[in-house]
Amino acid sequence: MSLVDTTGAGPSLAEDSVARPRRTVDRILAGNAWLVFAFLYLPILVLIALSFNDNTRVGVWTEFSFRWYGEMFGHTRIMSALRTSILVALMSTAVSTVLGTAAALSMERFRYRGQRAFDGLLYLPVIIPDITMAVMLLLFFVQAFDIVLLVTGVGLSRGVGTITLAHIAFNISFVALVVRARLAGLDSRLEEAAADLYASRWQAFRRVTLPLIAPGVAGGALLALTLSLDDVVIAEFVSGAGTTTLPVYVFGAVRRGVSPLINAVSVLMLVGSILLVVGALAISRRRVET
C-alpha cells in the first residue's frame, strides 16, 4: 500500500522505502513470468490454429476446415505408424515398469556387492545422448542379426520388436529413477512395523510398500509412456524399412519440407501427450482427495 507521507512520520517512510523497490522487482518478475508462459504456449496455439487452415501453403490462412485431419485419418502410412507407436509404447512401458520398479527396490532397500556398478549401469541410459544410444543399438542389432543368420540361417529384420527392445532399455532407467525417489522418501520403519505385525516379506511388500510407492510407479510408467511416444532418434535408427513410429514418420516428412498434413499429425501427437498428462494429474488428484 502506498502511504501518503503528509505526516512525514518515520515508520511509514521506512516502510515505504523498503516496499517500493520490492514492488518494482515484483512487477518485473511477474512480467517475466507472463512472457515465459507466452513463450511456452504461443507456439503450441499457433500450431493448433494452423492445423485447421484450409490451404496447402502452411503460412497463408484461408479458412477454417478439418481437411487435414480428414486426410490424416485416411492416410494408411500415418495410421499404421500411429498403431506402431502405441503398440511400442504400451509394451515397453509394461515391461520397463516392472523391471524398473524391481531395480529401484533392489537399489534402495538392499546392500550387496557390485551394487555401485549396477547403479552406474542404471543411470547411464538417462544421461547418454539419444543419438549415441541410437547408434549403439543399431550396431548391436546389425551385429546380432548377422550372428543369428550365420548360426541358424534365420534372417531377422528390424521393426516393432527392435524398437520395443530399445525403448525398454532406456525406460527401465527412468522408471527406476522415479520409483527410487519415492522409495527414498518412504520411512523404512513402516516395513519393519509390518514385519513386526507378523507380515511375511511378500505380505509386507504387497500391503505396505507397494500401495505407498504406487504414485511413484504410476509416475514412472507415465514417464516411460511419454518418452516412448516422444522418441524420434532411437526409433529412427533401429526401425526397419517397413515399420516406423509416428514421430519417425513426421520427422522424415519435416526434413523433406513442411506440409499442412504434418501440422495435423503434430497436433495429434501434442494433444495426445497433453491429454495423457492432464488425465494422469486428474486421476492422482482424485486419489489424493478420497
Binding site: A194, L197, A199
Partner: protein, 382 residues
C-alpha cells in the same frame, strides 16, 4: 539382578525367578556393525547379560548411541546379534525374523501405515495371523475402547493428533496380545504436558494388561517414574540394573550418578574400612570394603544435603563439612545453593533445600555447615 522394586503396590513375581521364567533373557549379546571402508567394526552392544521378569515394566535408559535401541531392535528381530543368545520365555529367538516372534513394537515415530485407517492399522497384525474376521472386529473394538479412540476408527493417521497417533501405535501392538511389548521412545514426539499425561496412562495400561513392557528412553525422569526396574546403558554396556530407587540413591558409577539427576561428586581418600578424608580434611563415613589409601569418589544428591548455620549444634549421626554460600538460585519449589568448601583444594557443593515454611534461608556469603546422613553418600566404583 533378580532384586525387584518392592515399593510398588503391584504384586511383583517372587525374587527367586530363574532365567527360564524370564520374559526376555539376553546372554552375552553383542552387536557389531561394519564400520566404513578399512575401519574397525563398531560395537553397538557389548556382551550384555540381562533378565527381564514377566510382567515388569523394564526401561533401557541411556544417551543416544548407547546401544539401547539396538538392543531393543535385536529383541524385536530387526537386527540379528553378532554373538549371544536372546530368549523370550525360554525360547531362543536370536535369529528368527520379526514376524515369527511373540513380541510387538511401538515405534519411535509410530510408523503408522499412512494409507490405512486407524481400524485397518490396528487390524493389520491380526489379519496377518489369519484371525477370523469376527474375532478381528471384536478385538479391534475392545482395544479401541481401551485406548479411548472411539469415533476415530475410520480416520487416517495424518488426521490424528500426536497423542492419538501414539494411542493407535499402542493399540496396533497390544491387540495382538504379545508376550512382550517393546517401546522405542514412544513419547519422544509429544510435548511435555502430553508426555507426562501419557506416562501415567502407559503405566496404568501396563498394569491393566499385565504384559511385560520393555521401554527404551533417554529421559531419566520418564524411566524413574514409570519403571519397575531400569538398566542404564552407555557405550554398548550395561552399567547398572536396579529399581529406580537403587539407581537414583546408589549409583554405582560416575556415569550413572551423573546421567540420572544432579549429583555432587567428592574426591576422598580412604583411611580405613569405614572412614575417608575429603580434600578439605574432613573425615566422613563410607561403606566398607575399601582398602586404605585408595582415592574414591563419593556421590551425594543435592537434596540429600542439609544446610545449617556454622554455629549451629553438631549432630554426631551426620557427616558434615563447613563452607561459604557462593550463589543462591530460587527455583520456585526449592532453593539451590552453591557452597564452597575448603581453602586450598576447595570444591563446590550443590545443595537443594525445599521451600516449605520454617526452612531456613541463607544468603551469599553466609558461613554454613553442610550435613548429610552417611548412607546417602555412595562410593562409586570408578
Amino acid at each position: 539382578m533378580t532384586e525387584l522394586g518392592t515399593t510398588t503396590a503391584r504384586s511383583a513375581p517372587s525374587a527367586a525367578t530363574a532365567a527360564d521364567a524370564s520374559a526376555v533373557s539376553l546372554h552375552g549379546v553383542t552387536k557389531r556393525f561394519p564400520g566404513g571402508k578399512g575401519t574397525q567394526p563398531v560395537v553397538a552392544v557389548d556382551d550384555i547379560d540381562l533378565d527381564i521378569v514377566d510382567g515388569e515394566f523394564f526401561s533401557l535408559l541411556g544417551p543416544s548411541g548407547c546401544g539401547k535401541t539396538t538392543t531393543l531392535r535385536m529383541v524385536a528381530g530387526f537386527e540379528y546379534p553378532s554373538a549371544g543368545s536372546i530368549r523370550i520365555f525360554g525360547e531362543e529367538v536370536g535369529l528368527k525374523p520379526p514376524n515369527r516372534r511373540p513380541v510387538n513394537t511401538v515405534f519411535q515415530s509410530y510408523a503408522l501405515f499412512p494409507h490405512m485407517t486407524v481400524e485397518q492399522n490396528i487390524a493389520f497384525g491380526l489379519e496377518m495371523k489369519d484371525v477370523s474376521r469376527k474375532e478381528i472386529a471384536q478385538r479391534v473394538g475392545e482395544v479401541i475402547e481401551l485406548v479411548q479412540l472411539q469415533g476415530r476408527e475410520k480416520s487416517k493417521p495424518r488426521h490424528l493428533s500426536g497423542g492419538q497417533q501414539q494411542r493407535v501405535a499402542l493399540a496396533r501392538a497390544l491387540v495382538n496380545r504379545p508376550k512382550v511389548l517393546l517401546l522405542d521412545e514412544p513419547l519422544g514426539a509429544l510435548d511435555l504436558k502430553l508426555r507426562q499425561a501419557m506416562q501415567v496412562e502407559l503405566k496404568q495400561m501396563q498394569e491393566h494388561v499385565g504384559i511385560t513392557f520393555v521401554y527404551v528412553t533417554h529421559d531419566q525422569e520418564e524411566a524413574l517414574t514409570m519403571s519397575d526396574r531400569i538398566a542404564v546403558m552407555d557405550g554398548g554396556q550395561l552399567l547398572q540394573v536396579g529399581t529406580p530407587e537403587e539407581i537414583y540413591d546408589h549409583p554405582r558409577t560416575r556415569f550413572v550418578a551423573d546421567f540420572i539427576g544432579e549429583t555432587n561428586l567428592l574426591e576422598a581418600v580412604v583411611v580405613d574400612g569405614t572412614t575417608a578424608t575429603l580434600t578439605d580434611g574432613t573425615r566422613v563415613r563410607v561403606d566398607n570394603g575399601q582398602t586404605s589409601g585408595t582415592t574414591v569418589t563419593l556421590a551425594i544428591r543435592p537434596e540429600k544435603l542439609g544446610l545449617r548455620h556454622i554455629d549451629s549444634e553438631r549432630n554426631a549421626a551426620l557427616d558434615a563439612v563447613t563452607g561459604r554460600v557462593e550463589r543462591v538460585t530460587f527455583l520456585g519449589n526449592a532453593i539451590a545453593y552453591e557452597v564452597r568448601v575448603g581453602q586450598a583444594q576447595a570444591f563446590d557443593l550443590e545443595v537443594r533445600q525445599g521451600n516449605a515454611p520454617g526452612i531456613e534461608h541463607f544468603a551469599v556469603g553466609d558461613e554454613v555447615r553442610v550435613r548429610w546422613v552417611p548412607s546417602s553418600a555412595s562410593v562409586l566404583e570408578d
